[in-house]
């Protein structure tokens, strides 16, 4: 009688074990962003709250929680409240199919990749509704831009994943990682290098991050879709954006950089004292994810914002053709069993 109940409790514990560290990572990602971008601009960044600014995210969180939520008079109140939730929930739900290590996954579904694609598209509804329900021209323009961009870049992203699916012959995330075992040359970033780059660039655009952050382009439309939000509403959009960043980073590591497989796997030249480096481990996945998160910030500190028509040109006239061409090449490589990737 209680078995179902205990199973439920166990699942809730597992969810918390994923969601709480994730929110911690998101909080400190904001600090890392301000620090790293500061350093790359020869500044120090926040260093007043706590030692070297380590308490800054907590101070920010407290500030946002205690701020008043302002509802614009002419807004659609119901949609205005539900929009940040619509952005935030899919960003968290997607983490349910992410495997962190062999067998360490909340929901080991067979169509994990499909679920990831579906839920990352669902987040766009939050942005669209927030822009529409705010009844503000800036929010509306931001939402339109965000949607157009997300819809366009979903195509090269999907095509890049098709390449991964073809190579791994599976839609299960753990299976995809398992297929990349056997050393650094077996990671899909090697045979699918163009798709890897396309996936990463589309990921930048999907999460509305620099240099594709026209949806919240400060110089033109103030803050874009979330211009009317304050307090917790704003915090939820913020959390959603950063959770999505972390998601894209970990997905890229899983799909293209061998997930939890060690980069030293099969490296015979390692001295025997360092042989443990060859074992697959969750830490490898986190190191790779951390690198991509750092790349997000690095790119933001480096490149100026794309013009909107340039974003569309890049998406439709460069990335999509590149993926299509490489899918053909990969198809031939699979047909002809090119070693060592396509056995």
């Amino acid at each position: 009688m209680f078995e179902g109940f205990f199973a439920l409790i166990w699942i809730v514990i597992k969810i918390l074990a994923i969601a709480l560290p994730l929110i911690g990572v998101v909080a400190y990602l904001t600090l890392a962003e301000r620090k790293i971008i500061g350093y790359q601009q020869s500044r120090i960044g926040p260093n007043r709250a706590g030692v070297r600014g380590l308490l800054q995210p907590i101070a920010d969180a407290i500030k946002l929680v205690f701020k008043e939520m302002i509802f614009p008079t002419a807004s659609n109140r119901y949609l205005f409240i539900i929009a940040p939730l619509l952005a935030f929930v899919p960003a968290l739900v997607t983490w349910s199919v992410i495997p962190f290590s062999e067998g360490l996954v909340l929901a080991d579904v067979n169509a994990g990749v499909l679920l990831v694609l579906a839920f990352s598209s669902l987040g766009i509804y939050g942005l669209l509704l927030s822009g529409w329900s705010s009844n503000s021209k800036y929010a509306f323009l931001g939402a339109l831009r965000a949607c157009g961009q997300a819809v366009s870049y979903e195509i090269p992203m999907g095509f890049a994943l098709v390449g991964v699916l073809m190579a791994a012959d599976s839609m299960n995330m753990s299976e995809i990682v398992r297929h990349q075992a056997g050393g650094i040359w077996h990671w899909y970033a090697v045979p699918l290098l163009p798709l890897f780059l396309v996936y990463w660039i589309s990921g930048l655009a999907e999460t509305n991050r620099a240099p594709f952050d026209v949806a919240e382009g400060e110089s033109e439309i103030v803050a874009g879709f979330h211009v009317e939000y304050s307090g917790m509403g704003f915090a939820l959009f913020f959390l959603a954006e950063y959770a999505n960043m972390a998601l894209i980073a970990i997905l890229t590591s899983l799909f293209f950089l061998g997930g939890w497989n060690s980069p030293f796997e099969g490296a015979g030249w390692l001295p025997s004292t360092l042989a443990w480096l060859q074992a697959p481990c969750m830490l490898w996945l986190f190191i790779k994810t951390g690198f991509f998160l750092f790349l997000y910030l690095w790119i933001r500190a480096t490149y100026p914002r794309y013009r909107y028509d340039q974003i569309m040109r890049l998406g439709w006239k460069v990335l999509i053709p590149v993926t299509l061409v490489w899918l053909v090449v990969e198809g031939l490589a699979i047909q002809w069993h090119v070693q060592p990737w396509f056995v």
Binding site: I36, Q40, S42, R43, I44, N47, L197, T302, Y303
Partner: protein, 194 residues
């Protein structure tokens, strides 16, 4: 049999590739060589990586931040900040009420009233500077024949009540007493260039 297939597919792909190359060159009005170079540069992300190395290097250079309340930028001995009235070493105020500063002040920030003291000398009864009007030009200091009104190199001051922007004679003299040593050292430092 299988091999024939391969050859055909490869030949088709090669032809397609060559045609794309030619079409791209024609569309952009470039020579074939230029096109190849252009495509190579774009698809290896050469310029983007170059940009990343610049910001990457800047992560490790010395930071330009000056952490203000603890650190400050160096101040020139000629810095024109707050105003002050000086005294002679025996404690007598320098100002003789000639009103040259009042006359020269372009912002009309100085107001002076004078009367005869018991010893027969002319002294100010009122010497007020409106800090809101003052533009820190230092003309008053230049015009003063007895080196009484001076600008001191102090910029960190504030007012909390309405009316405190009017610096009275007592206040100005007090400021002068506070900054006498600093003024002397600044003058010594700047002497060679005057």
């Amino acid at each position: 049999m299988m091999h024939d297939n391969h050859t055909w597919i490869l030949a088709t792909l090669l032809t397609l590739g060559l045609w794309l190359w030619w079409a791209y060159a024609r569309a952009n009005q470039l020579s074939l060589l230029q096109t190849a170079w252009h495509l190579l540069r774009s698809f290896t992300l050469f310029d983007l990586l170059k940009g990343l190395t610049v910001t990457g290097k800047h992560m490790f250079i010395r930071k330009a931040t000056i952490q203000y309340p603890e650190e400050e930028t160096p101040i020139s001995p000629r810095f024109r900040g707050m105003l002050a009235l000086r005294r002679y070493p025996n404690g007598e105020e320098r100002c003789i009420g000639c009103k040259l500063c009042e006359a020269v002040c372009p912002a009309l920030a100085i107001t002076i009233d004078t009367e005869e003291r018991e010893d027969g000398s002319r002294r100010t009864t009122k010497y007020e500077i409106d800090a809101f009007k003052c533009i820190n030009c230092g003309f008053c200091e230049e015009s003063c024949p007895v080196d009484s009104i001076v600008v001191v190199p102090e910029m960190h001051y504030h007012m909390e009540e309405r009316g405190e922007n009017i610096f009275t004679k007592e206040k100005l003299l007090a400021i002068g007493d506070l900054y006498e040593d600093r003024l002397a050292s600044d003058r010594r430092e700047d002497e060679a260039y005057r």
